[in-house]
């Protein structure tokens, strides 16, 4: 900086300060506090002694006129590193982080290296973008994105995504955070229950998505197929060595009928868990077979991800816990610390979600539900056994059940191999476990609707895919031997690839056939919303169902808040009386804070007549877009019930726990000795 002209010096100063601060942060996150301190001291020494810099500049000033420093700078500028180099280093760092290295791999304090590295030839310097696009994982991601966009063409570009289990998405990240942290929720008939924890996850994701909830939900739900493919590809990097097998496994996983069914029905919970499942498998393998420090960090990371998954679909926890306990018992003798790691992984979700899990225990049916509304039309009440065995969970938006027959057949044929029996047995064990859980779950009715067995079937699919992927290299050996073996191997490959291709084909051709739409209409008339300034509620009647809204469509998660059942029964009786023309019910409704009655289109003439003839109702509007009546009674404001006193302390504790778990899970310095391949460890056990 002593040689630069003044303007360039200021810019260099700013760049260096920001870069130093960033590097300090990265050193702290990657658990190298000594290096962080070094960095801070280095930068501080320049800023604290500005006179040293001034003296250096005066000493370096070329003789003659002042302009010559600038001229000299201009001459040598094009020889210095180009501007893009800093960005290139950043992308390299991000890729390295995703590959498991520490973000800043320093060579140690005072440049002391523990191992001598041979001089390697620097790799050819292709462009970063070209390198990025030619990786098979990226190609797979782009292919899955193209398939998703083609299949979801009817959902894109709408104003409001909603339908099925998904309440039309409204509000921003701030609204979701307020909903999660407030003690009394001023919605519907008022509730002081605690918000479900998945709202916090969605709020965090919406904050990342620049505050737009619809963006976060659209990416999570509509982009669940490419995201699942990416997560499956990344997760199998240490499990399945061969790249084509990895790509096939990731593609088939992403296109499982569970994913297409979840998207068509608006099941955000299943979509999120579907993306997280391969990460569970990957972290689980590291936990069971990595070296101690890595296994411990993997346990914390797995605990965090399991907490996120459980918040969306509580069934994930018992399903995973059984497998985890079995694995810990099986591997506990082989390696030290596996039992402790698994205990950490299973305890973190419980600690993070304790109050919510406690409320689930008192109402066990809710363990089988997921985030979002629970509609009987979304699950097949008479799910055929062949669908269950073919990993097809029933409901809208699915391809024919035999699409996954290729996968099941390939997995069955893998049973015929003589080697690697252990992997095959474990994979089929997980698959049978998932199918059994799916059968049990799909025969249960909760709150009037059958449970959708999507998550257990995703478990089963993961088991089958991992086992086929791990044994895929045997196919290459079979093909090397000629004649019948080669024919057999080619047939197996064709059958295996039939599943993703058929699934993608059916999905793209049929589109998303389900209740999820891209432009869900707002059921609350704008006129009602404008009259709700003082907390007036609106009773919305649609067909033979009604609900009570406060000025806006409910946020995600608001519709699942439990409400005092006495108040609900009274309001239900009053609403029935109002719609039946009984008389005297408007007073009851007004006592519960309801000031308006809206009827969604199509409005039957009989209902309109009955509401018109009610003495306390005045019609405000009636048209093809619906009707709105106002109560002439004095409306009592819904009283704010005091929230629980434990709520705010619990929120702080939860935040602190998340921070602790994240810090414990973040990868630190990569150890210098070689890391055993976990698949080798698995095969040897």
């Amino acid at each position: 900086m002593a040689n630069l002209p003044f303007g360039a010096m200021l810019w260099a100063l700013l760049r260096n300060v920001v870069g130093s601060a960033f590097r300090t942060l990265l050193f702290i996150v990657s658990k190298q506090p000594a290096n962080a301190l070094d960095e801070m001291v280095a930068m501080g020494s320049i800023l604290v002694h500005p006179f040293r810099l001034l003296r250096a500049r005066r000493a370096r000033r070329p003789p003659g006129n002042r302009q010559s420093r600038k001229k000299a700078y201009i001459r040598i500028k094009r020889l210095m590193t180009p501007r893009g180099a800093a960005w290139r280093r950043l992308t390299d760092m991000v890729q390295g982080f995703l590959a498991g290295q520490a973000p800043v791999d320093s060579a140690g304090r005072h440049h002391h290296s523990t191992a001598e590295e041979e001089d390697e030839l620097p790799p050819p310097d292709t462009g970063a973008v070209k390198r990025f696009l030619s990786r098979p994982g990226v190609v797979l991601l782009l292919a899955l994105t193209a398939v998703s966009l083609a299949a979801e063409r009817s959902l894109l570009g709408g104003e409001r995504l909603g339908g099925g289990a998904l309440v039309p998405v409204t509000g921003g990240a701030g609204d979701l955070w307020a909903f999660y942290t407030e003690g009394f929720h001023d919605v519907g008939l008022g509730s002081n229950a605690w918000a479900p924890p998945y709202v916090a996850v969605l709020a965090a994701l919406s904050t990342l998505a620049l505050g737009k909830t619809w963006l976060a939900v659209s990416v999570l739900l509509l982009g669940s197929v490419p995201l699942a493919g990416a997560s499956a590809y990344l997760a199998t990097r240490h499990i399945i060595p061969a790249v084509p097998a990895r790509a096939w496994a990731a593609g088939t996983y992403a296109l499982l009928p569970v994913a297409t069914g979840a998207i068509a029905a608006g099941r955000l919970g299943t979509a999120v868990v579907f993306v997280l499942l391969p990460l569970y498998a990957s972290f689980g393998t590291v936990l069971l077979s990595g070296e101690r420090r890595r296994a411990r960090r993997a346990a914390w990371g797995l605990g965090l991800l399991l907490a996120v998954g459980t918040a969306f679909v509580p069934l994930v926890y018992p399903l995973f816990a059984v497998l985890g306990v079995l694995a810990a018992v099986a591997f506990g003798g082989v390696r030290r610390g596996v039992v402790t790691s698994m205990a950490i992984a299973l305890a973190v979700p419980v600690a993070l979600l304790l109050p919510w899990l406690a409320s689930l225990v008192t109402d066990p049916g809710r363990i089988l539900l997921e985030a979002g509304l629970h509609d009987p039309a979304l699950a097949d009440p008479v799910l055929a056994p062949e669908s269950l065995l073919a990993l097809s969970p029933g409901g809208p938006g699915l391809p024919p059940f035999w699409v996954t027959a290729g996968l099941v057949t390939t997995a069955l044929s893998a049973l015929l191999m003589r080697r690697q029996r252990m992997i095959v047995a474990i994979g089929w064990g997980v698959a049978l476990y998932g199918m059994l859980a799916a059968i049990l779950v799909s025969r249960v009715t909760v709150e009037g609707a059958r449970v959708w067995p999507g998550v257990p079937l995703a478990f089963a699919g993961t088991g089958l895919l991992v086992l086929v992927g791990l044994t895929a290299h045997r196919l290459a050996e079979l093909r090397a031997g000629g004649g019948l073996r080669k024919l057999g191997a080619t047939a197996v490959v064709a059958v295996a690839f039939s599943t993703p291709l058929l699934a993608a084909g059916f999905w793209v051709v049929n589109g998303v056939r389900g209740p999820l739409v891209g432009d869900a209409p707002d059921v609350l008339p704008a006129l009602a919303a404008s009259y709700s300034k003082n907390g007036e509620r609106t009773l919305v009647i649609e067909g033979s169902a009604f609900t009570v809204l406060h000025a806006r469509t409910p946020l995600i998660g608001e519709a699942e808040l439990p409400v005092d059942s006495d108040a609900r029964t009274r309001v239900r009786t009053a609403a029935q009386g109002l719609a039946g023309g009984r008389g005297g019910d408007a007073a009851t409704l007004a006592q519960h804070g309801i000031a308006m009655v809206a009827v969604a289109p199509p409005v039957s003439a009989e209902l309109a007549k009955r509401l018109d003839s009610q003495p306390s109702l005045q019609r405000m509007s009636l048209s093809d877009a619906g009707g709105l009546w106002r109560l002439a009674e004095p409306v009592r404001r819904v009283p704010a019930q005091p929230g629980s006193a434990l709520h705010t302390p619990w929120l702080w504790a939860q935040g602190a726990l998340v921070l602790v778990a994240a810090l414990m899970a973040a990868p630190g310095r990569r150890p210098s000795e070689g890391v055993e391949s976990s698949s080798v460890a698995l095969a040897g056990a």
Partner: protein, 429 residues
């Protein structure tokens, strides 16, 4: 065991067995596809009822509540009473001299958004329409009069505003001076009104018009009193299409189609009259009308004697929920008709009287004498079958027969509420 697992086909066999077992388990536990249970309307007790009658100064109105009967004095304005669901109120006035000679019985009705009245028109009678608004909100009413030529009231009856607590008395001669038979519909745009009409025939006789059942494709006019005198059926076909009405009479002896009166053609929007005196042959009867187009029906019964009295009855729904008549006196009887199958009802006179069962043969009409003294209320509860009926009061004087009839309208004890479920699925499309 180890050999089994080491065998190439061992694991495959194990897995296939497990899959078959799960298939079997899933097959066995598969529920049969049930059609969803139809969510029908459910019967709910009415909590409170308002009964409004036009008041007659000096007369007393009978108010019936379960097991009690009270009498209250009335003023000139409308008489309003509120009570629980089983409330019934009404009165019968008896005048033996003058222009308004006759028995006139009226039932206090609940304010309603739609009321139909069928009877003789202003050309032949003095018809006074009483509208009362007993609620706290204003009501905007439209009065339409259908006559033999169609809708004759024009715009004069449209948009009549009645403030809360206000009542209006309208002489229908101002709305339809030339109609000799009429059907009046009083509908509200908002709010509710209680409607009653007092008809005094030019040829003698007075009575209040009973509220007819709203337009429907099947109408039953019960309670046609037996005895001499003219019986005239009036049928209105509101709406856009002509009605070809098929008639059937159900009398004390038989159920038959009247000779020469099998059908009645009613032009769209108008009223047609048919003399059924010889058709019912002097016996107590009911008429069953079916039509492809919704119709409203009423009947004018004239009593015998040198000075005649008139009684009106109209299309009425069946006694599903039970019925009661509050104002009765000596000379009352019930005229009950069972359609479709034999009917049985339980009749009780309040305050002094035990309940007794009455069996009505299928397709027949039966008269039931009510023997209580003084003024009493009668409660009719259906036990089985589809039963229609009316309460007829007759008094034989030397100058002629005094006659009034009131159809047994369904009590307001129960109401059918639509099933509304509370669910958040309303917000999703």
């Amino acid at each position: 065991m180890k050999a089994f697992v080491e065998n190439r086909f061992g694991l495959l066999a194990l897995v296939v067995v497990a899959l078959t077992a799960m298939y079997g388990a899933a097959y066995v536990t598969r529920p049969a596809p049930l059609p969803p249970p139809p969510a029908g309307p459910r019967k709910v007790a009415v909590e409170s009822v308002t009964a409004v009658c036009p008041g007659t100064k000096g007369e007393q109105v009978d108010v019936y509540l379960p097991d009690t009967l009270n009498r209250e004095k009335m003023d000139a304005g409308p008489y309003v009473t509120k009570g629980p669901g089983a409330l019934e109120a009404g009165y019968v006035t008896r005048t033996t001299k003058g222009a308004g000679r006759g028995l006139a019985g009226v039932r206090c009705t609940e304010p309603s958004p739609e009321t139909w009245l069928v009877g003789p028109g202003p050309a032949d009678a003095d018809v006074r329409l009483h509208l009362a608004n007993a609620d706290k909100a204003p009501a905007l009413t439209d009065i339409q009069i259908h006559a033999a030529e169609g809708v004759v009231s024009g715009d004069k009856g449209i948009g009549l505003e009645i403030a809360p607590g206000e009542h209006k008395e309208i002489d229908l001669k101002t709305l339809a001076p030339s109609a000799d038979i009429m059907a009046v519909s009083v509908t509200t745009v908002f709010g509710r009104v209680a409607v009653a009409a007092r008809t005094t025939l030019d040829t003698g006789g007075v009575d209040w018009l009973p509220a007819a059942a709203p337009p429907s494709t099947r109408a039953v006019v019960p309670g046609i009193p037996g005895g001499g005198g003219r019986r005239q059926l009036l049928v209105a076909a509101p709406g856009e299409s002509d009605a070809a009405v098929r008639l059937k009479a159900v009398s004390e002896d038989a159920e038959y189609v009247m000779k020469g009166r099998e059908t009645l053609d009613v032009p769209a929007g108008s009223v047609a009259a048919l003399d059924v005196t010889t058709g019912v042959g002097g016996s107590s009867a009911a008429l069953v009308l079916t039509s492809p187009v919704p119709i409203v029906a009423g009947l004018v019964a004239t009593g015998t004697g040198s000075r005649s009295d008139v009684a009106f009855t109209a299309g009425t729904p069946s006694l599903d929920l039970g019925s009661a008549v509050a104002g009765n006196r000596a000379g009352s009887r019930l005229v009950l008709t069972a359609l479709g199958g034999p009917g049985k009802v339980r009749v009780r006179e309040v305050p002094d009287g035990d309940a007794f069962d009455v069996e009505v043969p299928a397709g027949r009409t039966k008269n039931v004498r009510l023997k209580a003294k003084g003024s009493f209320a009668v409660v009719v509860t259906p036990v089985s079958g589809e039963v229609y009926g009316a309460r007829v009061v007759e008094e034989r004087l030397k100058s002629g027969l005094l006659l009034t009839a009131q159809p047994l309208s369904p009590a307001r004890m129960w109401t059918l509420l639509p099933p509304l479920t509370d669910t958040a699925r309303v917000v999703v499309p």
